[in-house]
Symmetry: C2
Subunit: 340 residues, 2 copies
């Protein structure tokens, strides 16, 4: 059960020294071809498999592993991002340990430190709303950290984030241009950086245009589609209901659209974050879109640059957003389907 053959066993079997086996295992060319052959044969018959844990211990270094901590592994936004990270990591010969903080600073912290104990080469973190100076000692000891989707506080590090504020401004501008004056806003908890930014952007644009935010039209505790349905329902029942809605993320969008359908009514919908099935939404929806795959890919590439010794200044990278139209057009006025 636990008698894995070691290099020692292989060496004994092949009647060479331990070091020769090591050399062969690492593909070092300066070994007599005959010995190489013998070692390979011994490895095969013994079923030798190199222990990379031991190897990385001695070299004091790379476990060829990075850690990825996102906020919610059941959200397609983060799984898309993760998938991009895994793909880049693989191209560098690295594996990815994936974990979820569930938006809890305590969990994030304990996961991050656990991963550091495992001597990952680097960490990609979707930071929770907390101080990240606890990572400073680790960074000084050689573990690179890149924040993604949100900036981290209290730690000098790279961050790759979308232009949340700008995207929100564009979204509201779009609605104002269409003549809307009563715009509902559905967002998740303000503990979350992206939500604060998106709300702030919306507010800025309204203010610029000379309008105020009506508190009755803002819900900032929309965690799920169902929450969005409830909020939408409440607002539509107001004496002076909204004529449009700005949704802070894809779950809010889905809930808002479902509630509108349920009530057999339509108002203009603009939502942040695209998702796979958006083109099948039962009404047209304007989406503030950005490239989630690029977000993950950039974060991973930045991390590997750091791991490989890039010592340039830390920088925040802002990814542009754009408005696209998704959803199905009403049959009555459509001339064919147009996507994106």
């Amino acid at each position: 059960m636990s008698d894995r053959p070691t290099m020692n066993d292989v060496a004994a079997y092949a009647k060479v020294s331990l070091k020769t086996v090591s050399r062969v295992a690492n593909g070092i060319s300066s070994v007599d071809p005959m010995l190489t052959e013998r070692v390979h044969a011994a490895m095969k018959t013994l079923g030798f498999r190199r222990n990379s844990v031991a190897a990385s211990l001695r070299t004091g270094g790379s476990t060829k592993t990075i850690g990825l901590i996102t906020a919610d592994l059941s959200n397609t936004f983060y799984t898309t991002l993760s998938s991009a990270v895994v793909s880049v990591a693989r191209s560098h010969g690295y594996q990815v340990i994936m974990a979820s903080s569930e938006e809890s600073p305590e969990i994030e912290r304990s996961l991050a430190l656990d991963l550091c104990q495992r001597r990952v080469s680097g960490l990609i973190v979707v930071p929770t709303n907390t101080d990240h100076s606890y990572l400073k000692p680790e960074v000084e000891l050689g573990i690179s950290v890149v924040f993604v989707d949100r900036p981290g506080y209290g730690l000098a590090a790279d961050a790759i984030i979308a232009d949340n504020r700008g995207g929100a401004r564009t979204a509201i501008e779009h609605l104002l241009t269409a003549g809307h004056r009563r715009i509902a806003i559905l967002i998740d908890s303000l503990e979350i950086y992206t939500m604060r930014e998106r709300l702030a952007g919306a507010q800025e644009q309204l203010t610029n245009a000379g309008f105020d935010l009506d508190p009755a039209l803002v819900a900032n505790d929309v965690h799920s589609p169902d929450d969005a349905m409830v909020a939408m329902s409440r607002m539509l029942a107001l004496v002076d209901p909204p004529t449009a809605v700005f949704c802070g993320n894809n779950r809010a969008t889905v809930g808002a659209v479902e509630e509108l359908w349920r009530r057999n009514t339509t108002i203009d919908v603009v939502g942040f974050d695209d998702f796979e099935m958006s083109r099948l939404l039962p009404q047209p929806v304007t989406i503030v879109d950005y490239d989630t795959v690029a977000l993950g890919r950039s974060a991973a590439e930045r991390l590997f640059a750091r791991i490989n010794g890039d010592g340039s200044e830390f920088a925040d990278t802002l990814l542009a957003t754009r408005l696209i139209t998704k959803g199905l057009r009403p049959l009555s006025d459509r001339r064919g389907i147009t996507h994106s």
Copy 2:
């Protein structure tokens, strides 16, 4: 940069023996409180962080890590499953290394062996269509393997799979009962076990009812929604078009529904695998549903049972499926959105 304090450093600083530091680090109670205090202080000032790689090397064992190899990390089905695995792993104090085989036996193999070299405690694998006897030596040396979603060949191991065949039979039965006789079938590659099973189940049920499968109504290369649209389009243009369609996975379902919408027509749709936004599909859809979270959770729980020494017979676990109805019902008379 690479001068992490070790237990030796801590011991020197606290003027105790290395072993005492080890004891404190591992929370062994039988240490003098005063020494414990001194060690803790030393750890703090030195910024000591235990190297779990070295620890697991010496104990010869557990890295407290499992590997998870799915077939496609961009598919919500697998990400849902993964999320469940991560959650169970965390409750056992384990981390998860996540990788994707992209349905390639070669990639699967290289990933699996790489993970074994890293001495993961166990492996959860969505097996590609290949021989898995290459894992036999690893299993004999103590790495537990559980297959999920599909059975593996050539290796005695547990497998957790859905009742694909039974689900397909139920789906077809449902359509036959509704009076359909021309049923289209859209499935992904027959290289994939679940697709073979679902096709076989469909065929069985048709045969039982005395009908044949019309080859013109079967597409078995539907990898994406777009492929499904094309296939659907082709079949609807037949002289004797289908009056219903059975979709082998959620991507096929999405494409089929979109094509129907595009053509402003409706036929009965039954699709395998539920997905997050299914309730917003623009027509009612019957879904062969099973609990993907349970699939991942069961696989992880089985794996941890094995890791913890469960030596019972290997078994296949079949998860039941059930038919549910999703999608939006036409409100009154409408199919699209009508204003007021």
